[in-house]
Amino acid sequence: MGQSIKIEIWDGDMTKEYMQERIDLYSDMLYKIAYLQLKNSEDAKDIVQEVFYQYIKRQEEFDSEEHEKAWFIKVTLNGCRKLWRSAWFRHTEGLPKQEEASENNLEKEILEREKKKRLLEEIWRLPRKYREVIHLFYFEEMSVKEIGEVTGRNPSTVTSQLTRGRELLKKRLKEEYRYE
């Protein structure tokens, strides 16, 4: 049985510490979700901060940590949808800078980096809904049912979007990938 997590009324340093702990626990996950949706770090940070604001103001209890996590993901995705950009404001950034390759295995690291870069570029080209399900399935390792719950879609729709997303990736990526 999951632990019940209640957001106490703001009072004292203990609560502040607890809040900061929750922020530290979830911020990376939410930032990555938002960044992959919005393709812009400032907007992604804005969304994540706003999500935590809503979290702090929320008075309802979570049934469990899983419930809390699902709530965070759902609210973040909703926030990203509302901030979805048109081509007019596509001031997307390049992919994140990476550390310099070490001298050892330089060629291998460069090839690996290029592969990851190409993959992320193709992920960003996917329609937003496919990006969402691909990320939640492959990175957050959520089930189709769980993805359906946080995105508000039927499991069959999620499966269909996963399939179509994979098909588009297969078509565009030169590398052959195994997609289980």
């Binding site: 502040k16 809040m19 900061q20 922020i23 530290d24 911020s27 990376d28 930032y31 990555k32 960044y35 992959l36 770090s41 940070k45 804005d46 994540v48 901060q49 706003e50 935590f52 604001y53 702090i56 509302k82 901030l83 979805w84 950009r85 048109s86 081509a87 007019w88 404001f89 596509r90 001031h91 994140p96 990476q98 592969k115 990851k116 870069k117 993959l119 992320l120 992920i123 329609p127 937003r128 809904k129 496919y130 691909i134 990320h135 492959y138 990175f139 994979r166 990736l169 590398e175 052959e176 990938y177 195994r178 997609y179 289980e180």
Partner: protein, 282 residues
């Protein structure tokens, strides 16, 4: 064969980690800026239902026979185009099999409304959006924009009117420039589109979420006639939104007033000297 999951996880893990501070989460100033920024983007975002901005820059090899641009209003927002080039381009594009441009070119009069209705039924990710190429440059002050860009972009002298802007942002993308100014609880959005480099006439349409009403005109002391409409829906804060549109020279200018009265809106329009957009007048 590579494993997609492993590669994807490694790629995403390379995305920077961020530290979010509790104080910044609770900072009301940040929240206010975020809300204003979000409203701004909503107006110019192609959404599944509601506001769609589709700019059509139809290109052919023929030189433009420029016919005076007319901005009109309908129940959704504004649209513009000179009929001669729009009708010519529509037939040419259809022959070329360019369905996307044909859709854009046919957006005039009664056909426009039908096309828009069909477009609104499309899923968000299937929307066809015509846009300019190239990156968007963003500036966090008008001063910075003026220093680094040499484009003509007329803005009112708000200080002269007793207003002090709390924040200023300017975006430049090709022939399109947009500025957002926040003044307390009110804010302004100025957009201008330059058609002087297009090879044909131009056509554009702006749709506001919830539709518009109360169409009217206002003629400034300088003789420019603005077409005005109100958004049917107020903002979340209960503000009235007035939209103004005018063309001058090869430019189209749109101004959105959030939380301003009719009188205040007129005063601001009076401050805008649109003769800068007309060659030979300045």
């Amino acid at each position: 064969m590579n494993d997609f999951k492993t590669t994807y996880q490694n790629a995403v893990s390379d995305i920077e980690n961020v530290h979010i501070d509790l104080d910044s989460v609770l900072d009301e100033g940040r929240r206010k800026r975020f809300k204003v920024h979000r409203k701004r983007q909503k107006l110019f975002t192609a959404a599944a239902a509601g506001g769609i901005f589709i700019l059509c820059t139809l290109g052919t090899s023929q030189a433009a026979e420029y016919v005076k641009t007319v901005i009109k209003a309908n129940e959704y927002g504004f649209w513009s185009g000179d009929m001669l080039t729009m009708s010519r381009n529509t037939s040419e594009q259809k022959e070329a099999g360019d369905e996307e441009h044909a859709l854009a070119g046919s957006m005039a009069g009664a056909e426009w409304e039908k096309e828009l209705a069909d477009t609104l039924k499309m899923e968000e990710d299937e929307l066809v959006i015509e846009s300019t190429e190239g990156e968007t440059r963003e500036y966090t002050s008008i001063e910075d924009f003026r220093e680094k860009e040499d484009a003509v972009f007329v803005l009112p002298d708000l200080e002269r009117m007793g207003y002090t802007a709390d924040s200023e942002r300017v975006w430049v993308n090709g022939s399109f420039i947009s500025a957002q100014l926040t003044i307390g609880e009110k804010y302004l959005i100025f957009d201008r589109i330059d058609y002087s480099e297009t090879k044909t006439g131009h056509a554009s349409s702006t749709v506001f979420m919830g539709g518009v009403c109360n169409e009217r005109t206002y003629i400034t002391g300088r003789g420019y006639e603005y077409l005005l409409v109100d958004s049917k829906e107020k903002t979340e804060e209960g503000q009235l939104v007035i939209h103004a549109a005018v063309s001058a020279g090869y430019y189209e200018i749109y101004v959105d007033f959030f939380g301003f009265s009719e009188e205040e809106m007129q005063q601001i329009l009076e401050q805008m000297d649109l003769s800068y957009y007309e060659p030979g007048k300045k």
